[in-house]
């Protein structure tokens, strides 16, 4: 157990040390969320009726969820690269804890998620977003986001180990995440969608997490969203973490 913790930290450190050295990656974490936020706020925002809530208030809790789900992308790309470059072979031949390579990766994602979430919240505040919540709720929202993002990192870990190249990791990720985030309450009210999409959007975990974030940050009715969102995150984690670790054990470098 002690080895698991220390090996995980060593791998997390490895993945964070490289960050400042890859400017393109850093841009993805900072500029991309700002761009999305501004595009939605100023291009679509005027045309979307959110029933009395200013669009920027509606948008920020939604876009942070989309952004955090994409945070794990680095894990998919990075793991796939490790497989191809033979680093996974090296790690698997070392006397290190088996889940540490994935654990360290996903842990490093938490750090990068904190970075891009901060960028997004600050930008949001600058363009008119404001919290209508207690400090406790704000912090609770941040923790929920990080948990949800962490769970999704494990989904991406599995994707990164399964697909044959970084390019296909990229497209597999986009194909999975885009419909999930767009057919949800993240950018528009679900009631404005056609019935079929509404049915999907209502059970979509993204809707539940976004609604939980709105309840925590801008004081919309909370219902059971927060607990359901926590539960969803834990279920995703409980399913995908063991799958990814099992896959890792059998992975051979190509």
């Amino acid at each position: 157990m002690r080895r698991l913790v220390s090996d995980t930290l060593i791998i997390a450190e490895r993945n964070l040390v490289r960050l400042p050295r890859s400017p393109d990656l850093l841009l993805a974490f900072t500029v991309q969320p700002i761009m999305f936020l501004l595009l939605f706020r100023y291009v679509f925002g005027g045309a979307i009726d959110t029933g009395g809530i200013p669009y920027v208030e509606f948008l920020v809790p939604g876009i942070v969820v989309q952004n955090i789900a994409f945070g794990g992308f680095v894990t998919a790309l990075g793991l796939n690269e490790d497989v191809h470059k033979g680093l996974i072979d090296r790690f698997r031949s070392l006397p290190m804890a088996r889940p540490a390579v994935l654990g360290g990766r996903t842990l490093a994602d938490v750090a990068t998620n904190v970075l891009s979430m901060t960028v997004l919240i600050v930008t949001g505040l600058l363009i008119g977003f404001s919290f209508h919540a207690s400090v406790l709720d704000i912090v609770g929202g941040i923790l929920l986001l990080l948990l949800f993002g962490y769970a999704f990192s494990w989904v991406f870990a599995l994707v990164g180990l399964l697909v044959s190249s970084p390019e296909s990791a990229n497209s597999a990720g986009f194909i999975a995440i885009f419909p999930l985030t767009f057919i949800s309450s993240a950018f528009v009210p679900v009631s404005s969608m056609p019935p079929v999409l509404q049915a999907f959007a209502k059970v979509n975990p993204f809707t539940i997490v976004v609604d939980a974030m709105r309840a925590l940050w801008i004081g919309t009715p909370a219902g059971n969203y927060v607990w359901e969102a926590v539960l969803w995150s834990l279920v995703i984690l409980a399913v995908f973490a063991p799958l990814a670790v099992a896959r890792y054990r059998r992975t051979a470098s190509r």
């Binding site: 490895r14 470059k85 031949s93």
Partner: protein
């Protein structure tokens, strides 16, 4: 240094029911052999990569595993390095079973692969320090060991540069250094010099020779016959997942026997005619590769004159003609029926 197996004879438990002399042999295996492989089988789907490989490697020696693409060389290394579970058969390394004692065994081995498996975004020192810590060393200890290795591998100046800026040779050296971080008694080198320029190859060879002089046991896979000739104390040739020959380089060359006559034709189109004309004087069937026709002869005397006479009788022009001792290439050709692969084709195996 290699630690004695925790349960002596553990790896040879099947021998308990056999005679004492077998048991005696088994004990000897444990103490003198670093690697013992028996009846190793591994299939990928319907493809049989290993069809029952046996292999012994004595402590402190270099065994070269030689074979064409897809022969199973890399699969053997993967099984021995605990990366792959065999379907059948047993293998022990440093007295530890590759399946049951895998966790312990990983403390005893170093692996340098076909790719230079280093993190491109980390510096040379960061890479080695990370590997050292993953072996369980403290950061300061791992860092000191890393610096030691960088010095030894002539990488000190590049120590603080990210490895993506390294040359191919530098990366291979760093990869080898990473395999040596824990001073493992057994080292697996899977095509260590593939794709390197001649100067880098030579310097890597010298490094490997230095390691062996210190008592490290090395299992080396290669398609370069000169590499096996130079580095390996003993050579195992595998093809289609089976060992087809074992011995020292000289022993294998003696198996081909006699002298080799090699003729370079003026025109490769004449190769077929040349093979026909030369067959009566050849010890084995002459083989043509492009404009080169080669075959074995029993004695040196008179063979050049006879070959030229036969060829000019068929109006085949000769550019050059030589008699020489067989090389490992000839051994390979004689044993497998095909030549050792061209280096270019190795990428295909890597991609497969």
């Amino acid at each position: 240094m290699p630690s004695a197996p925790e349960t002596p004879g553990f790896s040879t438990s099947p021998s308990t029911s056999t005679s004492t002399s077998t048991t005696h042999t088994a004990e000897r295996l444990d103490t003198e052999l670093a690697i013992v492989v028996r009846g190793l089988v591994k299939s990928y789907g319907s493809v049989r990569a290993l069809a029952g490989v046996d292999l012994d490697v004595a402590r402190g020696t270099v065994v070269g595993l030689l074979g064409p693409n897809g022969a199973g060389k890399t699969t053997v290394v993967r099984v021995l390095a605990t990366l792959l579970m065999p379907d059948a058969g047993t293998a022990t390394v440093a007295g530890l079973d590759v399946v049951r004692d895998a966790a312990q065994l990983r403390q005893q081995i170093g692996l340098a692969g076909q790719y230079a498996a280093v993190d491109e975004n980390l510096t040379g020192l960061e890479n080695l320090t990370m590997v050292g810590r993953l072996y369980g060393a403290r950061r300061s200890v791992a860092k000191r060991r890393g610096q030691e290795l960088l010095e030894r591998f002539d990488l000190v100046e590049a120590a603080t540069r990210p490895t993506k800026n390294y040359s191919g040779g530098m990366r291979r050296r760093l990869d080898l250094a990473a395999a040596l971080v824990a001073k493992p008694p057994v080292l697996f080198l899977d095509e260590p010099t593939t794709g390197l320029d001649p100067r880098s190859r030579l310097s890597l060879w010298e490094t490997i020779e230095g390691l062996v002089a210190e008592g490290t046991t090395v299992l080396l896979t290669t398609q370069y016959l000169d590499e096996a000739d130079r580095l390996a104390d003993s050579i195992t040739v595998i093809d289609h997942g089976l060992v087809i020959a074992q011995g020292t380089s000289d022993e294998l060359k003696d198996r081909v026997g006699g002298e080799r006559l090699e003729i370079r034709l003026d025109d490769p189109a004449d190769a077929e005619a040349a093979v026909r004309a030369l067959a009566p004087m050849a010890d084995d069937a002459p083989k043509a590769q492009g404009e080169i026709v080669a075959f074995g002869v029993r004695t040196r005397s008179g063979v050049i004159v006879e070959a030229v006479r036969r060829l000019s009788g068929e109006r085949v022009g000769v550019d050059d003609i030589t008699v020489r001792r067989p090389t490992l290439d000839d051994v390979f050709l004689a044993l497998t029926g095909h030549a050792a692969q061209e280096p270019d084709e190795q990428d295909e195996e890597a991609a497969a």
